[in-house]
């Protein structure tokens, strides 16, 4: 019996034992799966990947073990380049945000969106406008008026350059004609503290990045860039909770939605059965109480998308962002 046939016989036996799980998709990982995270250790994407790792371990959703690798260089480009170098390898899952499809537009990256296979998106992170607690503005339009009165003087902090935060600030400027002074810092936590200390006048942090400072009453939210108000939850400060924050569209700013998906990808050229296997696995993860807990604690919207839904979301989100990049002259090609 040759080596190959012995392995084949072995897998048939394993398939018989594993039974139901394999019957559904016909494919399962044969060796430990790498979770490649497009951010440094401790970032939002890192927490996203490690939470999924812990849910898979707790509920024993996969037979193979999971190894987490952080490849966050170049705003996460390192992880997607790694996917390109490992084309066709179904044992490498890449964890990112919308950076997966936006990075190639703003920088000359050695990968393109075609090098990735979409698997699923598990949550949408919200963006809010935050100001210091004692700031004179109660709504976003008031702040925008102030910026129009004194163009280029009100400093807005955000993480990284030409990334989601700066894109949103540019989108506000393009939509309303205001002119802010954007200052890039290294991460959302840092931007939150810079605002609490009064070194910048506003930021567009995700809920999770600013909740600590809001609890302390150092800063407050003006509005959220979401089609509808966020889930109510418990009060955070002064009797107000996430559900009490008006949407920016309610306040009269014509940006009805700006959300960041938490996405999972495979390299290009993997078997469709593998994509189906992971989409199914992540679907199971998204239905556990631990996942609901993570989504609630980080104040994200737990929306699961895969297949055509995900493609539609990506196309729309990409289109909006690229329009801003063009207006700002950031496009690389």
């Amino acid at each position: 019996m040759s080596y190959v046939t012995r392995i084949a016989a072995g897998s048939v036996a394993a398939a018989l034992v594993a039974g139901t799980a394999l019957a559904q998709t016909g494919w399962a990982p044969e060796k430990p799966v790498e979770f490649v995270v497009a951010s440094g250790a401790g970032g939002g994407t890192d927490n996203f990947a490690r939470t999924i790792q812990s849910v898979i371990a707790t509920h024993k959703l996969m037979d193979q073990s999971v190894v987490v690798l952080n490849k966050g260089a170049g705003s996460g480009a390192e992880a997607f380049l790694y996917a390109k170098q490992n084309a066709g390898d179904p044992h490498k899952l890449i964890f990112g945000t919308n950076n997966a499809y936006l990075l190639p537009h703003v920088g000359k990256m050695a990968y393109s969106f075609q090098d990735l296979t979409p698997v699923a998106s598990l949550a949408l992170d919200e963006f809010l406008v935050w100001v210091k607690a004692d700031a004179p503005w109660q709504t976003l339009p008031e702040m925008i008026e102030a910026a129009k009165a004194a163009p280029g003087t009100i400093p807005f902090g955000g993480s990284q350059s030409k990334d989601t935060d700066e894109t949103l600030v540019a989108l506000i400027e393009d939509t309303t004609g205001a002119d802010f002074k954007y200052v890039p810092f290294n991460g959302g936590g840092e931007v939150g503290v810079q605002l609490a200390g009064g070194h910048v006048a506003g930021n567009v942090n995700n809920p999770n990045e600013n909740i600590g400072q809001w609890q302390a009453g150092a800063i407050r939210p003006l509005c959220v860039f979401s089609p509808r108000r966020m889930a109510a939850g418990e009060p955070v400060f002064d009797g107000k909770g996430w559900g009490d924050i008006p949407t920016c569209a309610e306040q009269g700013v014509a940006i009805d939605s700006y959300q960041m998906p938490r996405t999972v990808w495979l390299p290009a050229g993997v078997p469709p059965e593998a994509t189906a296997f992971y989409a199914d696995l992540l679907k199971k993860v998204s239905e556990t109480p631990e996942w609901a807990d993570y989504v609630a604690k980080t104040s994200q919207s737990g929306v699961y998308m895969a297949g055509a839904d995900l493609d539609k979301f990506v196309t729309e989100s990409e289109g909006k962002a690229v329009a801003v990049f063009k207006a700002q002259g950031w496009t690389a090609n």
Binding site: S54, E78, S161, A196, Q215, K297
Partner: protein, 502 residues
């Protein structure tokens, strides 16, 4: 005293058999990852995070922080014995620790390092206990210009009293600054100096350079000098450990000053690596011209960076817990853990989760004492490593260096970088170029550049922002004084030659 009763409650939480076992286990694991260069505390802690999912948050943070302390201690061991810093923050310990070990006093060097490290850590915890609330508010006052001022202060303190030819210091410093600009710049989003190599996108890892310059460079130098580690014939006795401990009170001034420098850098938050360099520079400056030169195995040269490193490492926990701003890579990973356990770092953590916060602070007292005892017990063991013939230990060190360089970011490219910097390190040492300014520039260069760039955006390009409020102006003034005064002092001394002490 409010904090005091909270702390006593914390001791109640920390001193359970499970928690003490976690501390011992954590410190031991930390020692192992600290001793291996490149593996380091951040990697070690992130490897442990999945194991903490089943623990309650207080037990989990005690395990992770104990591992951090163990790694900080372990990092000094290889710095002193083999000139290979296990952790970025123990680079400055090599300057005098390694020469002292080579002179045949490895036990003395290790004991000095561990005892002053323990002192620094305890000083840091005491400061956290007393000033938790105040220090967190103080850190809020640091915007971009203040950050730049702190980095500038670290540069000024270290460079101001540099020994060696000024032009060579400038050359080494510039090379370091140049290397720190490689990769993506976070303020402009532009990719710089990568020449199309995707491996350079994230920049050149400072740890890989250190492993090459110090570890491999030293091996090459040893090979040239006859395949022998010098100072091998030392006898190792437990008595030496005790004698060195008795010697320690003599350096009380250095200990205290370095502890204060470290505490300040931990809170502000400049981080342990900057703290150890700055403290080394200040100690050199304070010692004047008396006694043997720094860099030849002077005790203060070991005491200063170690005490500062550990007090900063301890104090770095404070901005992480109270503001959600980690001032060291390890603190960043622990903060990620905090969020996975469902805790939100921020000013309210102290109010909403007092058990957690004060349990952690109390555990810092206990686990640092545990760590000092454990490492002191292993000093003779580690020092005995130097008695192994070079033919055996040399290849092992090369293997450890390369494994370390690979582990930093699991990239084969880094192995070539380490080899290249090994050659560069050997050549620079032969030509009498100081390596320390290069390392300092690599550690702080990018952060200083970012802070400078952000300040310039805020002020529309006016340098006046660095003197725009009393805080930033006084830090800048101290930094300029440290840079300029030694030159004037040197002139004065030439007229009145100092008496030679010791």
């Amino acid at each position: 005293m409010d904090n005091f009763s909270l702390l006593m409650g914390g001791f109640g939480t920390a001193l359970t058999p499970l928690h003490i076992a976690l501390m011992i286990g954590g410190v031991l694991m930390g020692l192992v990852v600290g001793v291996l260069p490149g593996l380091g505390a951040p990697n070690g802690v992130s490897l442990l995070i999945p194991l903490t999912f089943s623990l309650d948050p207080t037990s989990a943070i005690i395990l992770l922080s104990s591992m951090y302390w163990g790694a900080l201690f372990g990092g000094s061991t290889t710095s002193i014995l083999f000139n290979i810093p296990g952790e970025p923050s123990s680079v400055a310990t090599t300057f005098d620790g390694y020469p002292m070990a080579r002179r045949g006093q490895p036990t003395r060097a290790l004991t000095l390092a561990f005892m002053s490290a323990g002192f620094g850590a305890l000083l840091g915890v005491v400061v956290i206990t007393l000033l938790a609330g105040w220090a967190a508010r103080f850190a809020l006052r640091f915007g971009a210009p203040e950050y730049f001022a702190v980095y500038f202060l670290a540069f000024a303190a270290f460079i101001g009293m540099g020994t060696g030819a000024p032009l060579k210091i400038v050359a080494s410093l510039s090379a370091g600054l140049l290397l720190s600009t490689v990769g993506m710049d976070s303020v402009t989003g532009v990719v710089r100096l990568t020449y199309g190599f995707t491996d350079l996108l994230g920049g050149i890892s400072f740890l890989v350079v250190v492993i090459g310059l110090f570890g491999l460079g030293e091996i090459l130098a040893t090979v040239q000098e006859g395949l022998r580690f010098r100072g091998v014939a030392s006898r190792i006795r437990l008595g030496d450990v005790l004698a060195t401990m008795a010697e320690l009170p003599r350096y009380w001034a250095t200990l205290l000053r370095s502890g204060v420098v470290g505490t300040w850098m931990g809170i502000t938050p400049g981080g342990p690596t900057a703290a150890s360099f700055m403290s080394y520079g200040v100690a050199r400056q304070a010692s004047g011209k008396s006694g043997p030169a720094f860099g030849t195995g002077r005790p203060e040269g070991i005491v200063a960076p170690e005490a500062a490193d550990h007090s900063a490492g301890t104090c770095a926990m404070l901005p992480m817990l109270a503001l959600g701003v980690p001032s060291s890579a390890t603190a960043a990973v622990m903060m990620g853990g905090l969020m996975i356990w469902g805790l939100t770092p921020g000013p309210m953590l102290f109010a909403t989760k007092p058990d957690f916060v004060w349990g952690l602070i109390a555990s810092m007292y206990v686990s640092n004492v545990v760590a000092v005892i454990l490492v002191l017990a292993t000093v003779p063991l580690f020092a005995a490593l130097l008695r192994i013939p070079f033919a055996i230990i040399g290849p092992i060190i090369v293997a450890i260096c390369l494994v370390g360089a690979y582990t930093v970011s699991s990239a084969g490219f880094d192995l070539w970088l380490a080899l290249v910097f090994g050659l560069v390190g050997y050549l620079l040492t032969r030509l009498d170029y100081p390596l320390a300014p290069l390392i300092l520039a690599m550690v702080l260069g990018h952060k200083a550049e970012n802070a400078f760039h952000q300040s310039m955006i805020l002020s529309d390009g006016s340098l006046g922002i660095f003197f725009s409020n009393p805080l930033v102006a006084s830090i800048m003034a101290i930094a300029l004084a440290l840079l300029i005064l030694p030159r004037l002092g040197g002139l004065r001394r030439r007229r009145n030659p100092p008496e030679v002490v010791e």
